[in-house]
Every structure is written in structure tokens, then in C-alpha cells.
Amino acid sequence: MPADKYVLGLFTSEDKTVSAMQAMSEAPWQIERVHSPIPSERILDSLAVKKSRLGYFTLAGGIVGFFAGLALAVFTATRWHLIVWGKPVVAWIPFFIVGFEFTILFSVLANVLGLIMLSDLPDLNWSEHYDPRCSGEHFGILARCPDGRQQELAEFFRTQGGEPRLFEEN
């Protein structure tokens, strides 16, 4: 069985893109993914994707960070029990500051880690079925169709006001 073929529809505005996506839900075409030069709430809404779960990474990082910072400060202070300025060896007020900074540091690191993992970066196959115009003025809808129906799909994009680009390799 021949593999499915991909067609990229390029649109010049968010409005056209969204209406094309809506039209597509009634057509027999499968949306593979949508490229846009800007983050677009409306595109994400039309795809009905769930909210990103990145926040859990960030939250976990923050909690771990806070306790890691406190633990580090307490651990190091109790190695020698040196008294400075008559303060207690385990001094919670200054150590809280360390905990706070570690909270931010770890949650940001976890945030980046989560972002890299969830959005599959670095993506070595990025150029596959991609058009450089998508980072400029164009929005791109990549759709999949069975082999032989590419022209039909391209025609659909044209009627929606877009410019199709066919990918001949699978």
C-alpha cells in the first residue's frame, strides 16, 4: 500500500488559515500540523488541543529547588558549627533566601527541560515537509491524503485562498 502524501497549504493571514482549518474538518483531509510565524490562540483553539502540561515540570522543579536550596544551606552549616555574629548555626531567615533563589533556578531549568522534551527540540528532521515561508509571512497547514489525491487537496487549499505546495517524496 503506497504511503500517504503531504500537501502544505500556505495562507497569508490568520483569518484565512482558521477558516480553511474549519472547512477541513468537514472535508476528508487530515490536518497533520499547522505552522505559523506567531503563536496563535485561534489556531490552537480550532485544533482543540489540550493545554500544555509544561506547568507540571516547572512546579516540580520549583518545589525540588526550594528544598534543595534549604537542604544545601543547612547541610553545609552543620558540618562545622561555626558561630558567626552570634547567630544560630542553622539560621532559617538567611537560608530562606537561598531556598528562594534555588526555587527560581530549578523551576526555570525544569521549564526549559520540559519545553525541550515536550516540543521535541532539537528537531533534526525539521526541514521535512516544511516551507521556509512559514517563518515569514505565511501560515502553513500541512495535510495528509492518500496517494493520488494530492491534486484534489491542493485544489481545496486554492479555493480557501491559499497556495498549495506538494511534497512528492512520501
Binding site: 558561630i83 558567626v84 555574629w85 552570634g86
Partner: protein, 257 residues
């Protein structure tokens, strides 16, 4: 700030309800302290010279001295009444070995910290030269090695072998002649006894011709320092900062109001 009580670096110097956030800390048998009787001081600065000789303090030369880089651990400060220049008050100023020493907690590497016997230790090997301790010292008694000071021969032969020679980039200050305290400890341990009152004499105490300085253990209620600390003339320099200095000054108030 004028009516602040004497806050000795002992548990009785702490008053958690009124002045102190944290309880007192314990000392191990000894709490070294010094009493300086200003009424006896003639301002000869023999103490400062003795301190230079004992502790291998760098000689900076005229130019650096004018630039504010004198290394004296102990200096005799002079205060004059502008109206009556013949009336001079001498104030030998040295590290106060405070119980709550502001210099200690600001150091990132624990170079200054509080010893079990109440000394404010300065660990030269540890010091990386942030100079924060000096900034935070209200008495400004800490001295910094801006350069590696030289002892051209034969001056190198007069260096005290019991004391480290400090190189550039390190903070230093009065140690209460810790090498002499250590020596007394060894002697006392060998003889199986405690250090006797008056046994430890820092260089300044030993040298003073008029007996201004008294050094001893403040935890021993019968020691001379404890006795003198009860004198009515006793005060601490900037006592209201509540650093609980271990150097207690005696001065009769002669100011006419």
C-alpha cells in the same frame, strides 16, 4: 544610645527579651577579654610597636600610610578638644573580639568566625579578600594586605617564627596574640592544670610601661579582668551597637558639661 548598659560577652550580657534576638553562645572554659585603663595611658604607643614586632605586621612606608593602608593591629587613637589642645585623650584601639561580631557573618568563606574561647579568629588561608569584614567592622580595626609587604634582609631575621607572614590579598587583625594563648594551653596541659590568671600576656600587655592593659579569662569571676570589668568606670566603645566587645575600657568622666 547614651544609656546603654555594659553588655559583657558572657551569658549575663544577653537579654533576650529586650536587646537580643538570639541566645548567648557557650564558651569552652575560657572567654578571653582585655581591660584597657585609659586613665593610665600616656600615649607612648609602645603597645603598637610591640604588636608590630610580635605579629610580623607589614611595614607599608610613608606613601601607603598616607593612602590609608597602615597595618597596625593596635593603634593609639588621639582625640583632642579643639578648644583646649593640651587636653588629649588616648584610645588604644584593637580588635574588640566581639561576641556578636558584625565582621563574621558577612564573610562568604567563614574566614572570620567565633572560637570556642571567644576569640574572633581570622583564618588567613581561608580569606579570599572580599574585604566585607572590614567594611562591616564598626571599629575599623581590620587591616588588609594590599600588597605583599617586604622585609629586606636583614630585617627578615627579626620576624617572629611563631606567627605566619601574610601575603597580598588577605585580611588580618589583632588575634589577642593567639600564639601565646596556644603556648599557655600546651604548658597547662603538660602540667595538668588550667591556665592561671595572668599567665597569658599578649605583646601589648607585656610591653605597656604604665600597666594600661589587663588580659585574662572573663569566665573566671576571680580573674583580674572580671574584677576590673566591674569597675564603675567601665564602658565599651559604641556599646549601643550591642556587639558585646571583649575589650572593656576604663575611663573617668572628665568632660565638663
Amino acid at each position: 544610645m547614651w544609656e546603654f548598659p555594659l553588655t559583657l560577652p558572657l551569658p549575663e550580657g544577653y537579654n533576650n527579651k529586650v536587646r537580643d534576638l538570639y541566645p548567648s553562645h557557650e564558651h569552652n572554659g575560657y572567654r578571653w577579654a582585655m581591660v584597657v585603663d585609659l586613665d593610665r595611658c600616656i600615649g607612648c604607643a609602645a603597645c603598637a610597636v610591640a604588636c608590630y614586632a610580635e605579629n610580623n605586621i607589614g611595614i607599608v612606608g610613608e606613601q601607603q600610610l598616607i593612602a590609608g593602608r597602615e597595618m597596625a593591629w593596635l593603634q593609639v587613637q588621639r582625640y583632642q578638644d579643639p578648644g583646649r589642645p593640651e587636653k588629649v585623650i588616648f584610645l588604644p584601639m584593637l580588635c574588640q573580639h566581639c561576641d556578636n561580631a558584625p565582621c563574621e557573618s558577612v564573610c562568604p568563606v567563614f574566614a572570620p568566625h567565633h572560637s570556642k574561647e571567644g576569640l574572633n579568629n581570622q583564618i588567613y588561608n581561608r580569606c579570599i579578600g572580599t574585604r566585607f569584614c572590614s567594611q562591616d567592622c564598626p571599629y575599623k580595626v581590620r587591616r588588609f594586605n594590599w600588597f605583599t609587604w617586604q622585609w629586606p634582609p636583614p630585617l627578615n631575621l627579626q620576624l617572629n617564627p611563631d606567627v605566619t607572614v601574610r601575603s597580598k590579598g588577605v585580611m588580618e587583625k589583632c588575634s589577642f596574640c593567639v600564639q601565646r594563648i596556644k603556648e599557655a594551653h600546651n604548658r597547662a596541659k603538660n602540667e595538668g592544670r588550667a591556665i592561671r590568671d595572668g599567665e597569658v600576656q599578649p605583646a601589648c600587655v607585656q610591653t605597656c610601661p604604665t600597666g594600661v592593659f589587663t588580659f585574662g579569662n572573663l569566665m573566671d569571676p576571680n580573674s583580674e579582668v572580671s574584677r576590673k570589668a566591674k569597675d564603675k568606670r567601665a564602658y565599651q566603645v559604641m556599646g549601643y551597637l550591642n556587639t558585646k566587645p571583649a575589650v572593656i575600657y576604663l575611663k573617668k568622666v572628665v568632660q565638663e558639661i
